[in-house]
Structures are given as C-alpha cells and as structure tokens.
Amino acid sequence: MAATTSNTPGYYVNYSTRVDKVGLRPRIANTVRALIAVIIAFIMLIPVIWMGMTAFKSRPDAVSVPPTVFFQPTIEGFVFLLTARRQLTNDELATYSERTDLNFADQLALGRGQVIIGQSDFLPQLTNSLIISSVSTFFSVAFGVLAAYAFSRFRVPGKDDLLFFILSQRMLPAVVVTIPIFLMYKELGLHDTHFGLILLYTSFNLSFSVWLLKGFIDEIPREYEEAALVDGYTRLQAFRKVVLPQAVTGIAATTVFALIFSWNEYAFALMLTSDAARTAPPSIPVRLGTGGIEWASIAAGSLAFLIPVVIVTFALRKHLLRGVTFGAIRKG
C-alpha cells in the first residue's frame, strides 16, 4: 500500500473502519446495498436451493403439483442414489417384510416394495470424475504455465501465429468433432479409458490455460527473474522460486476454470465412455427407477456432484480474490 501511495516514511492512509464514526446516511446506504446483494444472490441460488430441497423429498413430494415447499425430509433420494434395487414379487414381499434384521436403508426400499441388491455405480462414477478431472486439470495447468512462460519471456519464432493456433482450438464447437474423435478413440483403444478422457480434457483446457496464464505472467516484471539470475540462480530455479510464487493467483484461477470444465463435461463423456471410465455427469440424469424418473435421486446425485468443485473453489478463494503482485515493484 505504502509503495503505491507514497514513499514518505510514516505516511499511512488509515481509513477508519469504526462503525460509530460512520454517519447514519452511509450506514443506511450500506445496509440497502447489502440487502440488494442478498436478494440477487437468493434469486441466483433458487435452482440450487430447489435441487437441495428435492434431494430430501420423498417421491410423492418431488412430483406433486403444485410443488411443495414444506415437506417431511427423507434421505430416500440418497439411499436410492447409492444402491441398486430389485422389485419384489408379492410373495417375496410378504416373507421379506417379516424379517427383523432389516436396516434403515432396507426398510426405505421395502416401502417401495424393493430389495437392495448391492451398490449402485454412482460412487465409482464419481471416483472416475475425480480422477479424470483432477489429473487433466493438473496437466493442463502445468503445461499451460510452462508454455505461457515461454511465450511471455522468450523470442519464440512465429509466436503470434502459434498463439493464434492455440486459441483457434476453442473456435470450433466441441460437438462437431465428437464423431471423428469417437472413431479415432475406437481405433486407438482409448474408448472408455481414463487416459482417453484425460488426454481430451487436457488438450481442451490447454489453449485456455496458456492464454489465461500468459496474461498473468506478462504482469510479473522481468526484473524479478533478472535479479534472481544475477544473484546466482539458473533460469529454471528463477522460474520456480520467483515466477511461480508470483503467479499463484493466476494458477489458482486457471485451476478452478479448468477443473470446472472437465468436471462438468457431458457430451464427450457420454460418447467416449460406457462403463469403466464413465464419469458422473452423463449418468446422473438417467437414474430411472421402476415406474418413472427418480427425481429425488437425481437431485441427490447433482448435490453430491457439486461438493468437490465447491471445496476447491473455496480453498482457493484467497488467491482468486487477491490482486496480482501488489507492493514490491513500483511502476513509475
């Protein structure tokens, strides 16, 4: 702060944060502003809230018209999400109901005349999503930061053409190339493999991350590395010790964007996977129970699906909010 305002010692700008010093009028204005923000946030969050409510609804509540806002919460949706069940015949139902060793989940299923026969494939699919999106995010950011550094600092022959070529990867709607990629993946044996999706998502994200990170690295003054170079460090050491810590904000932002893309990706995951590598997005909406769509189960799946991205974004929020390099270098 001092560096950008003044170099005089003891010169500090102290904006008081004491509430009792602030006049009544600004305080009301602040309250109104906060209120408006809360209302807008609420409107934005309605679908998410509705999803969260549906996840805890029983089946009649979930499909009732008009929709119920107050209801008896149940975790039926989650139980059905995580289990595979079979419909019981009437005979079976009679004997089964008499058993006393039934646990909570079994009883929920029994209420629908069903018996739990094992785990659903939701957890393995969520695991696939985790593996594929985290590995592809790691590689697209790692390659991205290296490429961005080179583009930012070195005289690369044909730099502008290369950068445009990289950007052009994002110009075609992805759906257009799903069929060719599907055929290629079949031939190459990449169909329904983790590696296949990781490769695809990494290359999709790379163009984006190179451009985003180049912007951030351009902002880091060259003098930083030059100081490290004359102080006895190699180029690579200077990169690791000086450039990377300065680029943390950009890396965090890029990570979140890349993660969200590969985590949410639907079309390719649907086309290129079947069992082994199927991710969560294409499987959540197709949860059909006997006699209809299990809305509660779908909502529960979507809710569970939100959590990892929320955690990552929350963990990186400090870097996302913090401005780039404040302080040490003064632009005159």
Partner: protein, 366 residues
Amino acid sequence: MATIELKQVEKKFADSFAVQPLDLTIHDGEFIVLLGPSGCGKTTTLRMISGLEAVTTGNIYLDGRDVTWAHPSDRDIAFVFQFFALYSHMSARQNIAFPLQAQRESRDQIARKVAEVAKMLKIEHLLDQKPGSLSGGDQQRVALARALVRRPAAFLMDEPLGALDAEFRESMRAEIKQLHIRQEATTVYVTHDQIEAMAMGDRIVIMSKAVVQQVGTPADVYHNPANLFVARFIGSPGMNLIEGKYVDGRVTLPGGSAFTLPNEYNAALSAALNDSDGKIILGFRPEAVRMNGDGDISARVYADDLHGGYTMLHFELDDGVIVHGRAGRDANYPIGTQLKFGIDPAMVRFFHPVSERAIFANGAGV
C-alpha cells in the same frame, strides 16, 4: 574486487544500434557513472556487463577473464534495479538471504551475513516485514542489502534512485556514496540525472544516441566538455553557447559586440576554423560571466532567479540569444536593464560549428 573492460562492445536491435562500438576500462574500486538522456544506450551497456543482455559483437572482461558469453550467475556481479525488484512474497530478510541461498551457504552463515549487512544499512528493524509495507527508500535499502550481502566483484545499479521521491534521493545518494567508499567496490551506476552523476562519479561516461560522447572526471566534463552535447547536458543551466565570427584575434558576436581573445589562441584557432568560414561557437559557464561593468558584450536583463546563495541572471543579447550568468546573491539588476558584461577568458571554450567538437581537447589549450 574487479576491473571491468569493454572492448568494441556493440549492441544492435534489428538494424539500429542501441550501443555503437564502445571501449571502456573501469578500474578496480572505481565509481563509474553512465550518464545520458533516455534511450542513449546506457542501460543496455549496463545490462550487457551484467549478462542480462547479450552483446552483438565485442568482448567483456571481468578481472581479465572473458565473460562475454558467461551466464549472469557466473559473473559474480550484483544488480540493483530501478524498481527494486524485491520479491513481494518474501520478507525483507528472505529477500536479502536469497542470493546466499543460491550459493548454498549454511544457515548460520546466512543469518550472520544478513545481520551484518542489515546493520550496515540500518534496516535491522525492518527485516521481518514484507516489501509491500516498506517505504520506497527502505525498499531500496533492502535491495541494496541484497546486492551487498554476497560481496560481489562489482555492483551494477540501474537508476536506483529514480523511483524515489526527491527528499529521499539526496540522502540515499549520500548513503550509496558512503557505502562505495567503505566497500571500495567497483560500481557502475546508470542515471539520467547529471547532478547525481556529478555528485557520485569518480568518472562519468556521457552517452547520447548510442555513442559515448566523453569519458572524464566530473570536473573534466564540466569544465572541458568534448562537444556541444556535453556542454549543454552537463550543468544546470548548461554551458552558454553563442555563435560568433572569428577574425584576427577578435570574435564578433551577433549584434556587434566584440570580444578580444588572448594572443596565444590565435594560431590554433585560425587553423581549426579555416573550413568554417570563420564561424566559431563560444562556450562559457554562467560563473565565467564578469559583471564589473567594463565588459565588451552588451545585453539586456531578461529574467533573474534568486537561488538563495546566488542569483542566476538571464541576459538577452542583441540578436535574441539568451545567456545565463551567475551573480552574487545581492545582485540587483531589474529586468530590462541594459548592461555590459565580460567573460573570464580562461573559462571560455571554443567549439567548431560544424563538427560540434571542442577545438582544444584540454580546455582552452593554454
């Protein structure tokens, strides 16, 4: 410590010269200032010495060792940047220790050396702060400490005071000079501020348009500028330069005033001026102006600035040329006064109007 030698060092960007072939020997323990307007090639020269910029041709020697193509980290030099280049994610202490860590010194040794240099620069109380919370002067002190801590063979400083406020600049100037005297370290210092150069340099290298104009001590470049550029650039205001016509030992100034030269100049001047049709440029510092009333040059007082210790008078000659003269602090010449002034002949310098070079390399040549 070290000597630095540049032999025919040049730098081209695309087709234009950033630095024309340059020869320079910087002696052990010397404080050399590279001075010139922006874009004159002084910073490029400094960066070539550091290795941050590759030379186009020529050789650079550090203590006799050819380092032309050595990596910056192999040159044992320290660089102080204009905008400090402190790492904002590290505390002042970590910043200062950073070069030592590259040399894999032990923890104890690093701690000892950091404490030592912090004491020298009086920044011990700031060591645990991040650069962002320090004032500009303190940031530059930390940057100096980072350069000093390694005890390098030479210091290269690129306008280290340029980013500081005026009040800090002067005290830091003295601090850097004092550090240099204590360390006896070879220092190359780049600045565009001629006052800074005069105050700090053992020798000054004046550059303009990629060419070295003059190399000399501050007194030398002030009193005996090698050409018109140096004459104008050094001093504030710069040297007075008026064009006259030289005929038989007399210089006639525009407007008719005449100025008689001592006899001993004549032979050399006539020889030097035979291709300029007798035209000559007289140069003299404001303090060469004599106001005792019996001068030959008539002028009108145009403006006067009281500088406290002295008065700077601005005269308008008959043809509109403005000349600056220094007078005592109690000088009283109302604006518009017509007067005559003289010039101390020993302090007059002569320049060729076409080549713009000084006619006598060593002052007046007497």
